[in-house]
Amino acid sequence: MNGTQNMGFAFVVTWLSSSLALAGPVLLAALGETFAEQSGVLNVGIEGTMLLGALASFLASYYTGMIWTSLLFAALVGIFANVFLAWMYITVRASQVVAGLVFNVLALGIADTVYRRAMGNSAAPESIAMFHPVRIPVISNLPLIGPALFGQTILFYLTLLLAIVAHFILFRTSFGLALRASGENPAAADSAGISVYRMRYTGTLISGAAAGMAGGYLVLAQVGLFRESIVSGQGFIALGIVIFGRWNPLKATAAALVFGACDALQLSLQIFGPRVPPQLLLALPYVVTILAISGLFGGKAVQPRALMTPYVRD
């Protein structure tokens, strides 16, 4: 009896703590994407940006061993890549879905080419400097939730803090208002003296920085090595989380936790659970995201009205 109880306990603890851990990177990417989408740009390119950020932070950490510098480098690479994307979206006015999607293929090519060039033919993955979980004293010893909530890496807490900051900026500052106006009714925003182009560039670059850092988060706090498949759709899931979270950073946090819980359930059940095909559980996060954004639960009304519509100033 005691044995099964301990099993159940251990199951819940690992499930909770890996839920939070897995939610971190996608939440960070989703927070940035919220800015882009609120300004009227659907940045599908964050998938590729995450991959480039992951590679950048891996290489930086491998060569310098400084984790914060690596994270910053990932953010810079993300911004740099998204200058090009923003130019395509806003100035060239190419289809946002097409430009973002093709950019993802480009990023895959660049990441693979650069990684092979940098690592040569050494097949063994190299170990790098990483972020480690910090255990907040006293409260991390709370039963059940203690290790899960207060035993995460510093990046997780920073991401939570960023969610609150993002919410404040979007809904409580004049910059946030101008950004949202550009995504809601760009012509009206322009008449009110807001530079729609500048707002959209800013939104896209913020999403680029966040996606680059999210890639760094994956490498520096979770995986510790680089491979082509490291992102595998997490950028797309971040897009889903933005919709699921109704373009609101705080709701996106909740959405990311739901997603993380599904993803973690699969890991925990593989360790503890009965013989469930792992693919069924692996499909769970994707199915949940599909259901969440299918429109079954509404949500069309709060979408920024000029999302995916390029602005032409007459």
């Binding site: 659907l42 599908v44 130019w87 395509m88 100035t91 060239v92 006015r93 190419a94 289809s95 879905v97 097409v98 430009a99 999607l101 093709v102 950019f103 993802n104 293929v105 480009l106 895959l108 090519g109 660049i110 693979d112 080419t113 092979r116 060039r117 759709g233 797309f236 899931i237 897009l239 889903g240 919709i243 095909p277 693919q279 069924l280 692996l282 499909a283 994707y286 199915v287 995201t289 599909i290 954004i293 299918s294 429109g295 079954l296 069309k300």
Partner: protein, 372 residues
């Protein structure tokens, strides 16, 4: 006020202008990639020669190019079908996998010990095509229903559905359909279910003929038939279409069904023509490269076949390059996607005209002074 570059009110849309910007974009992409070759210590001219020699100057390589081109062309045709109808479907990776799974399953049923037993090719092939088309069509059609009935965002839903399809196949080949052995894959499909080879001495199979026929059909449907007209109007302006009495919702679902069906056919062609068994990771990004092919062909069904052969050939050449010169084949990803991005970006150039008289006027030429 005269400038060398004058802005036009509407873009120059003559075939020459479009052709010129496309070629310029390609050349710039090749130039950028040339620097990458230099970075790898390879002579760019030799690298490009190697990239083109194997696929287009050797019979064996050309056969492989056709093998790679067939699924790409079918997916590109699916892209054209859906995008021109205003349905931004991105789930071809999933349709490909579902179609391949359906065709592979059907083929295994006709194996000597299978539930149906051997079936002549002339009966099996139409059945397999119909089946792969239908399952792929239903897979994409469901997304169409979600979009038409619930207003969900088809871009993201279709992206997510790719992963679900890939996991379904992974489950099947590592569980119920797995052949005894170490790798997660099915047994070899019976020879009677293979697509016939069409060029002696090569691996080229009848899939390219299916792609050719499909290109013709898609072109005819979109350009010459009332249904195609309705689909395109739906894509251009849904409100106008509704006003003209077109049932926009059903047209959307229909477009999704056709697009997914073509994606499913692509999967069938790959598994019955080239792989001859189902395995995990059979798609490997072909669903996205197919979209890129459609974009480069400017959503024109007739331009799809040469573009697909070019892209298929490039990947064959890249593999040869990786084997011989150890330049990673992923460089072609860069070349291919950069070409499309630059084609999109250079479209902006068509908004400008070069004002040649401006050049002639400064400084005033001797002739002008004489005639004055």
């Amino acid at each position: 006020m005269a400038k060398l570059f004058e802005r036009r009110l509407t873009p120059a849309d003559s075939p020459l202008a479009i052709f010129a910007t496309t070629i310029t974009a390609f050349l710039v992409a090749m130039l950028v990639t040339a620097f990458l070759f230099l970075y790898y210590g390879a002579n760019p001219f030799l690298a490009y020669f190697a990239l083109c020699h194997e696929p287009f100057a050797t019979l064996r390589g050309f056969g492989y190019s056709l093998v790679r081109a067939s699924p790409l062309a079918l997916i590109a045709l699916g892209t054209i079908m859906s995008w021109r109808s205003g349905f931004s479907y991105l789930g071809f990776e999933g349709c490909f996998v579902i179609g391949a799974t359906g065709a592979g399953w059907l083929a295994l049923l006709t194996a000597p010990g299978g539930r149906i037993g051997p079936v002549p090719l002339s009966l099996f092939m139409p059945l397999a095509m119909l089946f792969a088309f239908t399952v792929g069509g239903i897979w994409a059609g469901l997304v169409g229903v979600v979009r038409a009935r619930l207003g969900g965002n088809e871009v993201l839903i279709s992206l997510m559905s790719n992963y679900v399809a890939i996991l379904i196949l992974q489950y099947l080949v590592s569980g119920p359909m797995r052949a005894p052995g170490s790798l997660p894959e099915t047994p070899l499909l019976p020879r009677t279910s293979w697509l016939p080879f069409i060029l002696p001495g090569t691996r080229a199979h009848a899939g390219i003929l299916i792609a050719l026929a499909a290109a013709g059909l898609v072109w005819m449907m979109l350009q010459k038939m009332p249904l195609g007209y309705e689909l395109i109007v739906t894509g251009f302006n849904p409100s106008a279409a509704r006003y003209a009495g077109i049932n926009v919702r059903s047209r959307l679902v229909l477009a999704a069904f056709f697009a997914g069906g073509l994606g499913g056919l692509a999967g069938m062609v790959e598994v019955l023509g080239s792989q001859h068994r189902l395995m995990d990771g059979i798609s490997g990004g072909v669903g996205f490269v197919g979209i890129v092919v459609a974009l480069l062909a400017r959503l024109n069904p007739l331009a799809v076949i040469p573009t697909a052969i070019l892209y298929g050939g490039m990947s064959v050449g890249a593999d040869a390059m990786q084997r011989r010169a150890s330049i990673p084949s992923s460089i072609t990803f860069i070349l291919q996607s950069l070409a499309v991005l630059l084609v999109l970006a250079f479209d902006a150039l068509r908004y400008y005209r070069i004002n040649l008289p401006y050049l002639r006027r400064t400084p005033p030429s001797v002739n002008e002074q004489v005639y004055k």
